[in-house]
Assembly symmetry: C2
């Protein structure tokens, strides 16, 4: 299945398609717009739009099914999906790299893409503060003190491919290159040595959301910005909250960042003692304006739903929003499909 | 660039997007619906729809740009494209395999996908008859007589990846597995030993279209059908033409098949001494009905244009065509964009 995400135990494929879920391995397997081959959709008037094709190539007219991918159920209900599946990888390895400073993430990513190319299957970033929260709240096993010392952030890198020896050789060569450099991009690298350790490393990454929730009330932003701006977004938000006098134990406790580097997708989480109108007013529209200044997306993966309809204009032009409304009107003139969602 | 096709010297990227070009390495890099990140489109009323994003993940409303990919310019003119590019492969190898019978193609493909997985970048099929035409008309260098003896068809397989030794080892292991089998799927395999031989092998495959054109007047069908039916489609068409008394030197000289196995995309070419109403009447709607009986596509890559609007219904339901018309009416109520194309 060309999609993997934290919710895999409870989500449904129709929902994945309707929300254009991306997840942990989009870097490797691409978006659902590429991997969904066919859809069956029930339209608002009860008509069944049968585009449940299994063909990889079919250039016979407009690719209507694409409209329903990510439409959050506002144009029709997805009742059938055919999807392109990749051969299951024969082997997978991962490594957690500790970086002395954030500025090294981008050159590290470039280097990793060059040396690992087709076997690179995940490249996940998390800052030191959220790592510490994960460990505090029991997500995965802590790295040794030596390994985390002096680390400003971490990268979890995964490879998967058809032949274990080849993949390990490539990964080891990358690590050697990194350590032998005059100005090493990384402090240390912990390579998983067993399936248990492989799982434990992922447990840190996949447990970040839970750790944040255990620590306090979280304001969560799921945004796309250029990779080089990940830290800037987190720091600028923290400074902004500080300037409002909100960085206090009884207000905002942490401002952290983690996410899918390969996809330019940053999770900005603001952890507070409680949800308050004051914090909310300090965050919005501040964060949205910040994202818009980088031509980013105010919702990389989580969609618009009801909560972000007012923020749509930060990522989409008026012309785009106008055409979305016309599409909505065309398919659902009575407005009965998920009313209030997506469009303001 | 995640797209490679025969027309690369003369085509334009806006046209590639508007025709949803697939080409030779779709197997590896996927469809433009997955790799196009953003589009700028001029709409029929002169409005510029700016969706020229470079974000990999952006779930803010409907993905309108998808509508213009493959719309053949009937909804708007593509004036800007941002596209996801893959790291250039560090090495590429190819091999031509001679198969005793067509039935071996599918198991060979399964085996190749399993053993080569992420480095498999092309898997092209051509039958003996079209190979002979290619050699006759000087496309690429002929394989040795020994290599082609007893071959019913051929497969050109390409690998590309980050490390030459690894890729060659995988390819050699696959060949060993194939030869050591009790019932070998292949007669012989010719592995390219130099860049010149690599190019010459591709020259055979890429020269098939030209060879067919040199041999006579070609009726060309670009269809998607299940791989297991490739030969059946060619044979059934040949038998049908025979039953009409058209397999004669002064009418139909060859019925050949070649194409992109990995994409289920078959090029069915009927080579005649001259274009005649009699041959055309024997071929259409016969071929379209045959494709529809396999739930295939009457136009895998080449689109609908003006010539195939009458055939659209063989691959798309009435409901789908009705909704395409509504989309066309919504964007282009005056019908000024590429009039007469795509929709009947």
């Amino acid at each position: 299945m060309p999609l993997d995400l934290g919710a895999k135990g409870s989500c449904q494929i129709g929902g994945n398609v309707s929300t254009n879920a991306g997840g942990l391995r989009l870097l490797r397997y691409g978006s659902l717009h590429g991997s969904v081959l066919g859809l069956e959709v029930v339209l608002p008037d009860g008509t069944i739009l049968d585009q449940l094709s299994t063909l990889r190539k079919d250039n016979t007219g407009y690719d209507l099914k694409q409209l329903f991918i990510g439409a959050e159920g506002t144009l029709g209900i997805v009742t059938g999906v055919s999807i392109l599946t990749a051969p299951a990888p024969q082997s997978a390895s991962n490594v957690i790299l500790a970086l002395p400073k954030f500025e090294n993430v981008l050159p590290l990513f470039v280097q990793a893409k060059r040396q690992l190319s087709e076997i690179l299957s995940a490249f996940e970033f998390f800052d030191r503060e959220v790592y510490d929260l994960a460990i505090k709240h029991g997500q995965g096993r802590a790295l040794s003190e030596e390994d985390v010392e002096g680390a400003e952030c971490f990268v979890l890198m995964e490879t998967s491919g058809g032949k274990r020896e080849h993949d390990e050789e490539k990964l080891n060569q990358l690590l050697e290159t990194l350590f032998e450099s005059d100005k090493p991009l990384i402090n240390t690298g912990v390579l998983s040595q067993s399936p248990a350790q492989f799982a434990s490393m992922w447990a840190i990454r996949e447990g970040l959301t839970e750790a944040v929730s255990k620590e306090g009330k979280a304001y969560k932003y799921d945004i796309s910005v250029p990779l080089a701006k990940f830290k800037e977004v987190v720091d600028t938000t923290r400074e902004h909250l500080g300037s409002k006098g909100l960085l206090r134990d009884d207000a905002v406790k942490h401002v952290v960042g983690y996410g899918h580097v390969g996809d330019g997708n940053l999770h900005l989480n603001v952890v507070a003692a409680a949800y308050t109108p004051e914090i909310e007013a300090a965050l919005e529209p501040f964060v949205y304006e910040l994202v818009a200044s980088y031509k980013g997306s105010v919702s990389a993966e989580h969609g618009i739903g009801v909560m972000k309809t007012h923020a749509l204009h930060y990522s989409k032009s008026n012309v785009s929003i106008e055409w979305m409304k016309r599409i909505k009107q065309l398919f659902d003139p009575k407005g009965i499909m998920n009313p209030g969602k997506v469009l303001p």
